[in-house]
Symmetry: C2
Subunit: 194 residues, 2 copies
DNA sequence: ATAAAATTAGTACATTTGTTCTAAATTATA
DNA sequence: TATAATTTAGAACAAATGTACTAATTTTAT
């Protein structure tokens, strides 16, 4: 396999395990190459993080566009979206566990995230409108509360892993189940009574 | 003022501004003392963070116990609790902005947080039961959803600042208002229709 | 006022880190 | 096969950091 790809894999593994302060020397050692060689492929350490961020963003975009293309959006499609999302969140978990530090260190990532969230907010509100029209969501919820729900979804999606890391430390399958249950429960009080 | 207290103030200021990687040299320079002097008062850098964490925990405990002592818990008392909470969250915001990194670096803090959250979960559920009995909260919500709501509250409380830092970057009063509004909206769909 | 204790500044050191440089080795190309 | 391009390892460097140490200064106690 490509050395560049192998570096990204080793970096992802180590960042997820040891956090954002894992060094290029450790990343290189972890895959049995020299630090000099690593810096031949990635001149700056941050380039590795930027590349991993781009991978994450791409994988997420695919999930979102697949959700948007669904012929008829149901609660189930929303739930399966969250289950699939978690696989990506978990794969790149070091980003979410150290999100602010990364944003400070690499402002372009923060800027990218910011514009991404603005786009997503509109997409989610559109989905909510459909679910209201279809009688799945309640019709008596003020607009401001839907706006707050969108932000709530973003916060819980992005930081559930951090909370898990500080408390239960669930891994893999167990974590996925707990995350999905958390998201499902979030929607419960917004469902219309039928 | 006590040099030890002044170090804590300078550290808090710098950690909030520059993040968890602010150095003892910078903290000392920021208040016009030598690094040697700083290490006379705090042998290890982490001792500063631990002390700040203890301060935060103490201030929060006072808020929670004041809420628990209220003669009759209403929605208003819950809202004013969140408004007051935010002052403390904001004062020690570096902790929440770098929560996982701190937890990894100082395991005693993580352990303390974990047991704190277990205690708080019970306290919150007790409050919810009162609000249900008083007809303020809906009676048709399954127990599992209340449990999820508690976790939701913890996640949004602890990481709203991180989300804000990555998106809107609201400060002071504006941040407090947005946070409180977010928390209020969270409870809206759980209110009984009266 | 003097001795003792506490505080402070400044130097020094070992370690770590990102990165550069050089030369060797490997791979591709003609 | 000979040459050029790419890849790799390893040494070297400068900067930063935590913290230990020393000597001076300030404060406190007698």
């Amino acid at each position: 396999m490509d050395t560049k790809t192998r570096i990204l894999e080793s970096a992802l593994k180590l960042y997820n395990e040891k956090g954002i302060d894992a060094t290029t020397r450790h990343i290189a050692a972890g895959m049995g190459i020299s630090a000099g060689n690593l810096h031949y492929h990635f001149k700056h350490t941050d380039d590795i993080i930027i590349t991993l961020w781009d991978q994450l963003a791409t994988e997420f975009d695919q999930l979102v566009s697949r959700l948007g293309q669904a012929t008829e959006i149901s609660l189930d499609s929303l739930h399966s979206f969250y289950y699939q999302s978690f696989q990506t969140l978990y794969k790149y978990r070091f980003i979410f566990l150290h999100f602010v530090a990364i944003g400070i260190r690499i402002p372009t990532i923060q800027e990218h995230y910011r514009s991404l969230m603005q786009r997503r907010e509109k997409e989610f509100k559109a989905i909510f409108r459909i679910l209201i029209r279809n009688g799945i969501f309640r019709k008596d919820i003020p607009e401001a509360v839907w706006t707050a729900l969108v932000r709530q979804i973003f916060i819980v999606s992005d930081f559930w892993l951090s909370n898990n890391e500080l408390t239960d430390r669930l891994r893999d399958k167990e974590a996925a189940i707990a995350f999905t249950k958390q998201m499902e429960s979030m929607f419960f009080p917004y469902l219309s009574k039928s």
